[in-house]
């Protein structure tokens, strides 16, 4: 059967398109297969891997301002001094949201970094996509790993977040340097009300708030609209974790939770506390001497030192209640991305991650910024000792707050739970719900969110 020229041309085009498309697919598959190594596959051979001089790795982070400058300084030092000649290209990629979008795009189209900053929830997502390199074989390596002494040097809360139960027994991240939720206090304002030290229990907190109002007529604490952190922290003060993603259960309906919600209700009912927009606003209230107490991240201790100067005396403490003052640990970790490179680049990435969490790098980072060091030995360096002598609040932040900090249990439902908890706590402070009603609703909603997020 003869085919007319008119029909032959479109047919040829379609055939060509199909051919090209199939070639593209084959190419894509090949590319995927090339990088489809199981995490930790190269474990046994790590000792034999040799990192060629000049190996380049990409490190994406979220640090700007003094934090970004310090990251650049640490990276420059590593590039200048590492014995393998590794070159780290550090790049600021905006906020965690933007960084996460860039990584996802990189995983889809190529060009993902070798090392990136990430929170546990994002790490879990990358792990599900098979894109996180497990670090245990590097850690255990005699040549490139860490000694028992070095492992013990890492703060327990910081180490625990690199090996959370949701990772299935693996170590999926390594420390960057973190902060925690602290209680800033204006010693001069407290003294005006006859209070000589910050509160150590919830009862004292409420009693001081009443005393200050009676003495000065002012309010005691400015809280941010995002009240989930404050609620979690007060809950942890009572030795209660909040929720367990593994069993999809919560402590939100517990008597301790109702006590915490009642405390917040009382603070607002008696006009002892007030709400401002966010953490920047609570800081503004504190540094301008309007709020004697601020519950905020210790990362801002350095900016407070600069902004407050010698205007008033202040410090940082952990609130605590019946148990030890366990506060919330903030900040991301370093994660190694599988698609970022080959075995040699992975090893180079690990060596950089190990350096960043070392005594030297952590002391520089902690001295330059408001972060606390991930390793205790950094406190013994001259650099950090001098810095902490000049800025005693940073020392306080480490000694009294950071050492006991822990993260909330990681779950992909974390953000949704935070939003819901925040909304319910705000309803309590506005008198729109009783503590019992809010607790019941929080428990029901969080349980359902945790159920849905179960792997």
């Amino acid at each position: 059967m003869a085919i007319s020229k008119r029909k032959a041309f479109p047919a040829l085009l379609i055939l060509l398109t199909l051919l090209l498309a199939s070639c593209g697919l084959a190419g894509g598959q090949e590319a995927q297969e090339g990088s489809d190594k199981k995490p930790g596959e190269a474990a046994g051979a790590i000792e034999d891997i040799k990192v060629p001089k000049g190996t380049e790795i990409d490190f994406w982070h979220i640090q700007a301002t003094i934090y970004g400058e310090s990251v650049a300084a640490v990276v420059d030092e590593f590039n200048a001094t590492n014995e393998w000649g590794i070159v780290v290209n550090q790049l600021f990629k905006g906020s965690y949201l933007e960084l996460n979008q860039a990584i996802r795009a990189g995983l889809a189209g190529g060009g993902a970094p070798d090392v990136a900053m990430a929170y546990e929830n994002d790490i879990l997502e990358y792990q599900r996509a098979g894109e996180v390199v497990e670090l245990d074989s590097y850690l255990e390596s005699e040549k490139y790993g860490l000694t028992d002494e070095e492992m013990a040097d890492i703060l327990p809360g910081v180490l625990a977040r690199q090996q959370v139960p949701a990772y299935g027994g693996a170590t999926l991240s390594w420390p960057h340097g973190n902060s925690s939720l602290g209680m800033y206090y204006n010693a001069d304002l407290l003294a005006e009300a006859g209070i000589d030290s910050p509160p150590t229990t919830h009862d004292e907190f409420l009693a001081q708030a009443r005393q200050l109002k009676e003495a000065t007529g002012g309010k005691y604490v400015a809280l941010s609209q995002a009240m989930n952190s404050v609620y979690y922290n007060l809950l942890r003060d009572k030795g209660v974790a909040g929720y367990d993603p593994k069993t999809a259960t919560t402590d939100f309906g517990s008597p301790e939770s109702i006590e915490v919600l009642s405390l917040l209700e009382t603070l607002y009912k008696e006009k002892l506390a007030y709400t401002v927009f966010d953490g920047v606003a609570t800081e503004a209230e504190f540094i301008n001497g309007r709020s004697p107490i601020e519950l905020g991240t210790t990362a801002r201790s350095s900016s407070k030192i600069e902004a407050i100067g010698s205007n008033f005396n202040w410090g940082i403490a952990a609130l605590g209640d019946d148990g030890p003052a366990i506060t919330q640990l903030f900040g991301g970790n370093h994660v190694m991305i599988e698609a970022g490179g080959n075995d040699k680049e992975h090893l180079a990435a690990w060596l950089f991650m190990r350096y960043f969490a070392s005594t030297t790098a952590q002391s520089v980072y902690a001295a330059d910024t408001g972060y606390s060091p991930a390793v205790r030995s950094a406190l013994e360096t001259v650099l950090l000792q001098n810095d902490y002598t000049e800025s005693p609040q940073k020392q306080q932040a480490f000694d009294e707050v950071f050492v006991n900090a822990e993260i909330m249990p990681p779950t992909s439902a974390g953000n949704a739970i935070n939003d819901m908890v925040s909304k319910e706590v705000v309803r309590v402070t506005l008198g729109q719900a009783t503590p019992e009603e809010a607790a019941e609703r929080m428990d029901a909603e969080a349980t359902s969110l945790l159920e849905a997020a179960k792997p």
Binding site: I62, G68, F92, E98, E306, Y371
Partner: protein, 321 residues
């Protein structure tokens, strides 16, 4: 063009109208109108409005000269107690490649991107406005519908496309093996080269030109190409200026795409430079305001240069900024 013709007619009409109030001379009439309390109120409202619009800019300039503690004082000071002119140099030299390099990058991306966008917009709009072909309206609706797709939804597909362009940036014929146009000016520019908004606005402008012009030039033997560039484009200047301004500002202000598609620090744009003053752990507000003060300058200069045409364009084609 329609608008300017209407203005001419109105002016003629005003001139022909008999003087209000009998024999009063035009000079006296103007003076009396100038003293009218309503006119005074009108100017007062306009001055207050202008002051309100100017205040954020003034605030930015004042904040850019304050120290870090002073910029955090509340209630705030209006005038800086000890002007910190060094904030500007600190801001300028904050990026490793300095803001000078970032400005150059932004101009390349914004100017080339806008030029290409205007070209594709003009040619596509001409086809939709002046030519007849099958499924014309359906295709136009399809183009306009792309305006509904949020940018965030296009990030990953655009990224994959840019990285896997065959035979570019070390890629083979299948788009594998290299990095395509990733980390290049072309990579930053290409995804926005065709703009549905530009096509829509220019089509409306072209359709407002009477068909008689085409008939007239056709008699002289002109082609579509000649008609488009010799007749339509000069007659649609306000609309084109509007597209240029919107396009330039959109590219100049773009943040997320350059952030994702670049790796080398020295290829980044001014908006990414501004990000360096604000992080998860706090802001350098005073330095950021200093940087913002010089980053907005090109946009202001461009607007001042084209504002008359821009406003004509908006008024003629019913587009709100």
């Amino acid at each position: 063009m329609v608008a300017s013709r209407t203005n001419v007619d109105l002016d003629t009409e005003t001139r022909r109208r008999p003087p209000v109030g009998g024999s009063a001379s035009p000079l006296k009439r103007r003076t009396r109108r100038g003293r009218s309390p309503w006119r005074f109120m009108l100017y007062l409202v306009l001055i207050i409005g202008a002051a309100m619009m100017m205040f954020p800019f003034l605030w930015m300039l004042l904040a850019s000269l304050k120290t870090f503690p002073e910029v955090n004082i509340s209630p705030p000071t209006i005038l800086p107690s000890d002007p910190q002119w060094s904030n500007y140099s600190e801001a300028w030299f904050q990026p490793a490649s300095t803001f000078g390099r970032y400005f150059f990058n932004s101009f390349v991306v914004a100017a080339v991107g806008t030029a290409l966008q205007v070209f594709t917009g003009i040619t596509a709009a001409y086809a939709f406005a002046m030519l007849n072909f099958r499924f014309k309206n359906g295709l136009f609706l399809l183009v306009v519908a792309t305006m509904m797709i949020p940018f965030e939804a296009k990030i990953v597909p655009n990224y994959v496309l840019i990285r896997q362009l065959p035979l570019l940036g070390g890629n083979d014929i299948n788009g594998v093996g290299g990095s395509g146009l990733y980390d290049s000016y072309a990579g930053m520019i290409l995804p926005g080269v065709a703009s549905a908004f530009a096509v829509f606005l220019l089509r409306q402008a072209f359709m407002a030109v009477p068909r008689d012009f085409w008939d007239a030039v056709r008699v002289d033997g002109a082609s579509h190409w000649t008609f488009l560039w010799r007749v339509l484009v000069p007659m649609s200047k306000p609309a084109i200026v509007t597209v240029v301004l919107f396009g330039f500002l959109a590219r100049y202000n773009e943040l997320l795409w350059p952030l994702i598609i670049t790796q080398t620090e020295s290829i980044r744009t001014v908006q990414l430079g501004l990000l360096l003053f604000s992080g998860e752990e706090g802001q350098r507000y005073n330095i950021m305001m200093a940087a913002a003060a010089f980053v907005i300058l090109p946009a202001i200069i461009l607007f001042v240069l084209v504002q008359r045409r821009f406003i004509e364009g908006l008024a003629s084609f019913g587009v709100k900024g």
